[in-house]
């Protein structure tokens, strides 16, 4: 029986070479490391050698960055092509190789190199609205390299997996100020919808919202003098 399955597999590979994934189904997809999210993804992650499209906003960047961290934890590499240059350095944790191309054409070339190399398990292309030939080129590179390719865009042609996320305005949980107003957002509830061929799944889970420390002054227009030595603040 085993021999016949092997023979069948060999025959399929011979007759339909392009239909056989590079990874041959052995490698696991790229999981995000968020249990609820991975449960909603087919086989538990973003498919290898295929295009996944995530609609921007709604927390998809957080999910993909978690996937980059997860790949890095597993001893793999991930790359993030930041076409829109929206990544804030203060929040970048170096879990993925960061590429900041100057133009859209540069972004496509960089993503193509990274996907084709086969050394990156996950390549995310963010902030790029691509034409169909460009998408086809990158999908072919992903197929040849065997890594998972995720495009952050609203257009989902040629995608093997589509992921959209939504946050309701009331889904934010706030710490309140003394007047009862919102002061600090603690976390947010994400509604995820994943679609693929023969797959339609939803997930709902909370994610924290990361803030940064602001150095504040008491009043607009005043110089921030808090860094000065106390002796200089005293009256002469």
């Amino acid at each position: 029986m085993a021999a016949s399955v092997a023979d069948l597999r060999a025959l399929i590979e011979q007759r339909f070479p392009d239909a056989v994934p590079v990874t041959r189904g052995i490698a696991r997809p790229v999981a995000s490391g968020i249990p609820e999210m991975d449960h909603a993804l087919p086989r538990g992650g973003f498919p290898l050698g295929r295009l996944s499209v995530c609609a921007p906003h709604g927390g998809t960047t957080a999910i993909l960055r978690a996937a980059c961290r997860n790949a890095s934890r597993d001893g793999e590499r991930a790359a993030w092509v930041d076409t829109g240059r929206t990544i804030a350095g203060a929040f970048w944790d170096d879990a993925a190789l960061l590429v900041r191309p100057a133009t859209l054409a540069h972004a496509v070339r960089a993503a193509s190199e990274l996907l084709h190399a086969g050394g990156f398990r996950l390549v995310v292309l963010a902030g790029a609205e691509l034409a169909a030939p460009q998408v086809a080129r990158l999908v072919r590179a992903a197929h040849e390299g065997g890594g998972a390719f995720v495009l952050l865009t609203d257009h989902s042609s040629m995608a093997a997996l589509r992921l959209s996320a939504r946050i309701a305005p009331e889904a934010y949980r706030w710490d309140r100020d003394p007047f009862g107003g919102p002061a600090h957002v603690r976390d947010v509830q994400l509604d995820i919808h994943v679609r693929a061929l023969g797959w339609n799944a939803r997930a709902r889970f909370p994610l924290p919202v990361q803030s940064h420390e602001l150095r504040l002054a008491l009043e607009s227009g005043l110089a921030d003098r808090r860094g000065l030595p106390r002796t200089r603040l005293r009256a002469p």
């Binding site: 968020i34 906003h57 709604g58 927390g59 960047t61 957080a62 999910i63 960055r65 978690a66 890095s72 934890r73 597993d74 001893g75 793999e76 929206t86 990544i87 804030a88 350095g89 203060a90 929040f91 970048w92 170096d94 879990a95 993925a96 190789l97 960061l98 590429v99 900041r100 191309p101 100057a102 960089a110 190199e113 990274l114 190399a117 050394g119 990156f120 398990r121 946050i167 309701a168 706030w174 007047f179 107003g181 919102p182 002061a183 957002v185 994610l207 924290p208 919202v209 990361q210 803030s211 940064h212 602001l214 150095r215 504040l216 002054a217 008491l218 009043e219 227009g221 005043l222 921030d224």
Partner: protein, 406 residues
């Protein structure tokens, strides 16, 4: 005594010719010997019988038997060993060679072991160091014309790089440094050293370095020839690792891909943030180029690695910044002693705000008019569920969208 290395040569002919050369210079009593080991050759030439035309030959494979015939004094034992050898009844090299290693070491010590090895024709002395291999090089000269255009020069140098890098790769080595020599029409030469941070035979890497050098250097005349040679060569980095470690096995491919991107788009395409404590988030980060070497190798030994602090951060919505704060129109409403935005217009579309936190006031730079800032930041949740970061510039009296959480 003169030593000659006959490896790979007809040793007998070499000895005969060398001897003839010495005799031609007036030394008539010179002798020569040929043997597989230095000790046998030395004994043969000093004590042995003179063979055909003054050349003694120790037949291959008989060095030990030949050495065994000589008295032990022929090996010039240390004065301390002489009475001990006599007391043990060792008169010839053969007597000493017949003993075991342990017994010699116990009775005669380390010096005795060295002598025992020589007596067995087990001569470990290196008379000649290995001849250094010729370093890869290539050159190209042209006489009918002279080149000034850097692009055409690069084209020629690229052809040389193909040969040099190919030779390096074939030997499993990489170059730390290549020397590029330009022959100029004024009969002068210009030497340029190209250095790589690590030994590499990657042609693309060297092309990138050559291109950078050509942009930098100024030649005094047009070029009529180029020579390229690998001046510092080392074995390429061969990291120990686990073949089943997924990151380890693809390191080369990943590094090459990053090198190609840097070559194509410049070093500022692949970057890492260098953050300061500047009060303004958009001024806080300097993007520094990242070396092609470090596209995130994370060897795990084939196992799932323990969570590391750098990557252990929980998944979270983080702030994304607009490349430049976007001017927006904002409608505000009073709240206690300040005004808060209730809706804003961006890209021709109005966005209603459901919740707003703030203001967070940031000001400073009073000592530097160019960097004077006074901003009131608000975190606002729109009706679409997006958490955006708006600020009011108190100096300009204008509102901006600075970023959003995603």
């Amino acid at each position: 005594m003169l030593w000659a290395d006959g490896h790979g040569l007809d040793a007998h002919t070499l000895a005969r010719n060398t001897l003839q050369l010495i005799r031609n210079r007036g030394t008539d009593d010179a002798r020569a010997a040929v043997a597989a080991t230095p000790v046998a050759a030395e004994l043969a030439v000093v004590f042995g019988a003179v063979g055909e035309r003054g050349v003694a030959v120790v037949a291959p494979g008989t060095d030990r038997a030949f050495t065994a015939l000589f008295p032990i004094e022929a090996l010039d034992p240390a004065p301390r060993l002489a009475p001990l050898l006599a007391a043990l009844g060792i008169a010839t090299c053969g007597d000493l060679a017949a003993l075991s290693h342990e017994s010699v070491e116990v009775r005669l010590g380390a010096e005795g072991v060295a002598l025992w090895r020589l007596a067995r024709a087990d001569d470990r002395r290196l008379i000649f160091s290995p001849a250094p291999r010729e370093l890869p090089h290539a050159s190209l000269d042209w006489t009918d014309y002279a080149l000034k255009d850097p692009e055409r020069l690069l084209f020629s140098i690229n052809a040389l790089l193909t040969r040099v890098c190919g030779a390096l790769a074939a030997e499993g080595r990489g170059a730390h440094e290549l020397t590029l020599t330009f022959s100029l029409t004024d009969r002068g030469t210009h030497v340029e050293l190209l250095r790589s941070s690590r030994p590499t035979a990657n042609q693309r890497t060297w092309v990138r370095l050559v291109r950078a050098a050509l942009e930098r250097i100024r030649l005094s005349a047009a070029v009529t020839g180029v020579a390229l040679h690998a001046s510092r060569v080392a074995a390429r980095d061969a990291q120990q690792g686990d073949l089943f470690d997924r990151g380890f096995t693809t390191t080369g491919a990943a590094e090459d891909a990053v090198a190609r991107i840097i070559e194509d788009q410049g070093e500022h395409a692949v970057v890492a943030p260098d953050n300061s404590a500047h009060p303004l988030l958009d001024e806080r980060t300097t993007w520094t180029p990242r070396a092609p070497r470090a596209p995130h190798a994370a060897p795990t030994g084939g196992k799932v690695r323990e969570a590391q602090p750098a990557y252990a951060a929980q998944a979270a919505l983080t702030l994304q910044l607009a490349p430049v704060p976007r001017a927006i129109a904002v409608e505000t409403a009073p709240r206690r002693d300040h005004a808060v935005p209730v809706r804003y217009r961006d890209g021709g579309q109005w966005h209603d705000i459901a919740q707003v936190a703030g203001p967070d006031r940031v000001s400073g730079g009073a000592w530097d008019p160019d960097h004077l800032h006074a901003r009131e930041y608000f975190r606002c949740v729109t009706r679409e569920g997006v958490l955006v970061w708006l600020f009011y510039d108190a100096q300009a009296g204008a509102w901006y969208l600075h970023g959003w959480w995603d």
